[in-house]
């Protein structure tokens, strides 16, 4: 096998200067073996996770050390709490939440995800209890994350779930609401929090990988300065292939070391607040002076298609959300453009038509009330079930006025508070029930 100096320097540059790293190695593990209907025995059974997490932490550190590749976060996804709460009481759900949080802390797991429930068309007892304890569970923990799947192409969209969800996040500080999301069509194998959970149909335990890499794509575009769109597409595709390959290598190696399955590389380009690690930076490298300008959607569509084609060639384990995220607070360029007014809610919704970003890590002012937020989330989820896409909303209610920002620090960055339109939507959102599944559903049978 032979490598030229140019190839070696290219890899070195990606890893050292273009912020290429593994955003997350996520262990997804079944915890339904602990369903006993009794809190004490449930916790007792969950204690076997101690060995699993110890093994996991060791394996990730070993692999990261061996290859010289930075793994930014270690995460664990567990079976949705909903199943436990079908028979346990609300308060007991909080106890499980605290137990999982403690476990994550002990093993230096950055996030443990699965305070989650499915309520696309209605509520089981467990789903309702999950929603009603959502704020309390997240407010009493630091590393636990949770998701409510409130819509799906198959089942429709549950307006009641959206209302309950918004009521909960209005009772959370940003440190909690940044660990909560509401989704349409959530996948069972996502490495990304808060949507990660051990989904149905998965093996007992599996490794899912999230790669970073916007910096690699941006640099590749800036270096090659392509003239034709098909050249631009090709440059992105090649760079995406390389980014994804790194995820494949690390995922396979960790899984092998643990003796479990490796199922997913999420192709999504995940930005970080570090300068030069921005998805909006890629769009601007494509010639849109400021992300949000007209043409941004077309540029993003080209980016997404090329990333998917390059990524699909790089791994046979495609899964998770596999599009791109544009969490506004976590993307250095997006923060600026949002503060400058080039990015507003409708821009984000439009961009969601071609990627998976939805409304991610955006602040709303509590003074604008819950109704508009319910309306906004229904917009995002409706797009999800209409286009048959995975979409979500991670909204951060704050006391600050629109136009300001709240700095959460670290990977979470600066949360910009965007203005919701001053229009009364109470008439629409006061409808009860669910939105029937769309005609897309009938394409499936």
């Amino acid at each position: 096998m032979r490598y030229s100096a140019e190839e070696i320097v290219e890899v070195y540059r990606m890893l050292r200067e273009e912020e290429l790293d593994i955003r997350s190695v996520t262990l997804s593990v079944n915890t339904l073996f602990a369903l006993t209907g009794n809190l004490e025995s449930t916790i007792k059974r969950l204690e076997t996770l101690n060995q699993t997490l110890e093994k996991f932490t060791y394996a990730v550190d070993e692999v990261s050390g061996k290859y010289g590749i930075r793994v930014v976060t270690k995460r664990v996804a567990v079976s949705p709490i909903q199943f436990f709460l079908e028979s346990l009481a609300e308060e007991e759900g909080i106890e499980i939440a605290k137990f999982l949080d403690k476990l994550a802390e002990i093993y230096k797991i950055d996030y443990i995800s699965g305070y989650s429930a499915f309520a696309d068309r209605g509520f089981t007892k467990g789903a309702l209890k999950t929603l009603k304890t959502f704020a309390k569970a997240l407010n009493n923990t630091h590393r636990l994350t949770g998701m409510i799947n409130a819509a799906s192409t198959i089942a429709g969209m549950n307006m009641e779930a959206i209302k309950l969800y918004v009521n909960e996040i209005f009772n959370m500080p940003p440190t909690s609401s940044s660990r909560a999301t509401i989704m349409a069509n959530v996948p069972p194998d996502s490495p990304f929090v808060p949507s990660a959970h051990h989904g149905l149909g998965m093996p007992e335990a599996t490794i899912n990988i999230a790669v970073s890499g916007p910096g690699v794509i941006e640099s590749a575009i800036r270096r090659s300065n392509p003239k034709a769109l098909q050249e631009l597409h090709d440059v992105i595709k090649r760079a995406a292939f390389k980014v994804t390959r790194l995820g494949e290598l690390i995922g396979k190696s960790v899984a092998e070391k643990m003796g479990i399955n490796f199922t997913t590389v999420d192709l999504s380009l995940a930005p970080s607040p570090t300068v030069g690690d921005s998805v909006a930076g890629i769009i601007e490298a494509m010639g849109i002076e400021k992300m949000g300008g007209h043409g941004s959607l077309a540029a993003l569509a080209i980016l997404m298609d090329a990333v998917k084609k390059g990524g699909a060639m790089a791994t046979s384990a495609v899964g998770g959300l596999s599009s791109t995220f544009i969490p506004v607070s976590e993307d250095s360029v997006m923060i600026e453009r949002a503060l400058e007014g080039y990015i507003d809610f409708y821009t984000l919704i439009a961009l969601s038509a071609v990627c998976n970003s939805g409304i991610d890590m955006v602040g709303v002012s509590k003074s604008q009330g819950m109704d508009k937020v319910i309306g906004l989330i229904s917009d995002v989820l409706a797009l999800g079930i209409t286009l048959n896409k995975i979409l979500g909303a991670r909204i951060i209610p704050v006391d600050s006025p629109p136009g300001s920002y709240v700095d959460l620090g670290g990977l979470l960055g600066k949360v910009v508070v965007m203005k919701l339109k001053d229009v009364d939507v109470s008439g629409f959102i006061s409808h009860t029930g669910y939105v029937p599944s769309t005609i897309k559903r009938l394409e499936l049978g």
Partner: protein, 98 residues
Amino acid sequence: MLYSYIIQMENAVIIVVGADKPGIVAGIASKLAENNANIIDISQTVVRGIFAMIMVVDISKCKVSLAELRKQLQEKGKELGVEVQAYHEEVFRYIERV
């Protein structure tokens, strides 16, 4: 410029970036020898307009893990005033080959 590898070996690629001055090759090479890591190939190139040395090293008989070897080389690099990185060869195989 091409490097040849023998399949059975376990190789690492070491990249040393910094001003070209006497003692750098010797310093890094002695650290490698101490740990029983065998240099297969050395070449020079330029990274960001700065002198860079690429070493391909057989670590199959290395006394320490690559993580530990990297740490030692980076400490040595600090003394010598150069930046040292060490990656497993598989990283290059995965990223640069279909």
